[in-house]
């Protein structure tokens, strides 16, 4: 039995390749819940845990002002995403991070763990989808980069292959309002019943809208996005309440929510319509 604690990416990849069934542990906030509940026996029987929290390449982030992108290591925590200057570079990601769990969870939980878990309710995922972020993967067989929309395949299903690690994500730094909002039973420690991210790109005059918890994985809302680009008053930065509401309704029409133990499909549709409308009005106040 072994706990492997690599300190660089090369050592982490070698460990993952030597033990492809190993339990990979970042902040532990998803994995340890399962371990405690006895659900990870198979992985633990493989006798290896690979601990990523000291891999230096995964803990870093960098800003490229020329390309106007930020690249986040997979091991960047929610607490770090909420801290300046990252919070101003990627404001919707900071806003989403603020809604995650509790201080204890945000101190440990990572963006890479959120991506790998790929829950429909993962709070960073609608933001990464709306930003058209790229996910960087690596194994001893090589590196590859996938648009986040191709990385997330379904409920808790991703494009990760055996022995492969998430290295990080690259997202654009955009000019314009952006925000994330979710609905849950209370403010703290809550899994989203429905969530939405709206990102305005003033330079391209387009709006990107993504929804969480209303489909097997995160969805974008192309019809609502086109409607927004065509109907917002870009010169004055304003929108009539009717336009904002219509964008919300169109976004909800793209949702495929279900009834489950946390909510109903009807409630979820209504919630995303309102969340999107509100987020649009935050960027484009009433005309």
């Amino acid at each position: 039995m072994a706990v492997v604690i690599p300190i660089d990416l090369d050592a982490a990849m070698r460990a993952a390749s030597a033990a492809p069934d190993a339990l990979i542990l970042a902040g532990g906030t998803d994995v340890m819940v399962e371990v405690n509940a006895g659900q990870r026996r198979r992985a633990l029987d493989s006798d290896t845990v690979i601990v990523l929290d000291r891999v230096r390449e995964l803990r870093r982030w960098s800003h490229d002002p020329e390309r106007r992108t930020v690249t986040l290591g997979a091991g960047v925590t929610y607490t770090e995403l909420m801290t300046e200057p990252l919070a101003s570079l990627l404001p919707a990601l900071a806003e989403a991070s603020r809604t995650v769990g509790s201080p204890q969870i945000r101190n440990a939980g990572t963006i890479g763990g959120n991506l790998a878990t790929c829950s429909p309710a993962g709070d960073t995922l609608p933001v990464l989808a709306a930003l058209d972020a790229d996910v960087h993967l690596a194994s001893l067989n090589g590196e590859r980069t996938l648009p986040v929309g191709q990385f997330m395949l379904g409920v808790k299903t991703t494009a990760l292959t055996r022995g492969e690690l998430i290295v990080g994500v690259t997202a654009p730094v955009l000019r314009g309002a952006q925000g994330y909002a979710k609905v849950g039973v209370r403010n703290a420690m809550v899994i989203a019943i429905a969530s939405a991210c709206v990102i305005v790109d003033e330079d391209c005059r387009d709006v990107r809208i993504a929804l969480g918890s209303v489909a097997p994985t995160i969805i974008r809302c192309p019809d609502a996005e086109r409607h927004a680009a065509a109907n917002l008053d870009w010169d004055r930065g304003r929108a009539t309440p009717g336009v904002a509401a219509e964008i919300g309704e169109r976004a909800a029409a793209d949702a495929r929510p279900i009834d489950d133990h946390r909510s109903t499909a009807a409630y979820r549709s209504r919630a995303v319509a309102l969340l999107v409308g509100r987020l649009v009005r935050r960027g484009f106040p009433d005309a």
Binding site: V3, G28, Q104
Partner: protein, 169 residues
Amino acid sequence: MPEFYELQINGSAHDVHDAWLGESLLYVLRERLGFTGTKSACEEGECGSCSVLVDDVLVCACLALAGSATGKTVTTVEGLAATGTPSDVQQAFVTAGAVQCGFCTPGLIVAAHALLTESPEATGQEIREALSGNVCRCTGYGRILEAVAAAARARLAAGAGSIDDRGET
């Protein structure tokens, strides 16, 4: 991997022998090493009663793999003050009457210490936010919030940085 690993807890080294790979830091603290101040309730990160500091960062011990904490420093509620001499936060809880059954108290004390180390000037909303990962089923929170606010005011009055119960600056 050797048959044992070493954890640094409250300033001293402790060997953990013959442990199962998947044991949480919470389990090892309580069941193997006898640090029973750290409480176990939900074991899924929801209640905060297992709050500890790992390398001075507030986390849930139930969500930390014990074997991954080697080479880091772990501070439990027992490590915040010498036995018999409560820390300012502990004393504030007593003074405010913030303890009923007491099960949530150690986790709250550790979370409050983490907050006041980071932001000694914390007030109302910030205190609520900082304690939002700690559940109390008895008190209704009012006196807990009062206790932490009182400890913050006292630290501020004494001058930021001059009081640090963990003996660090």
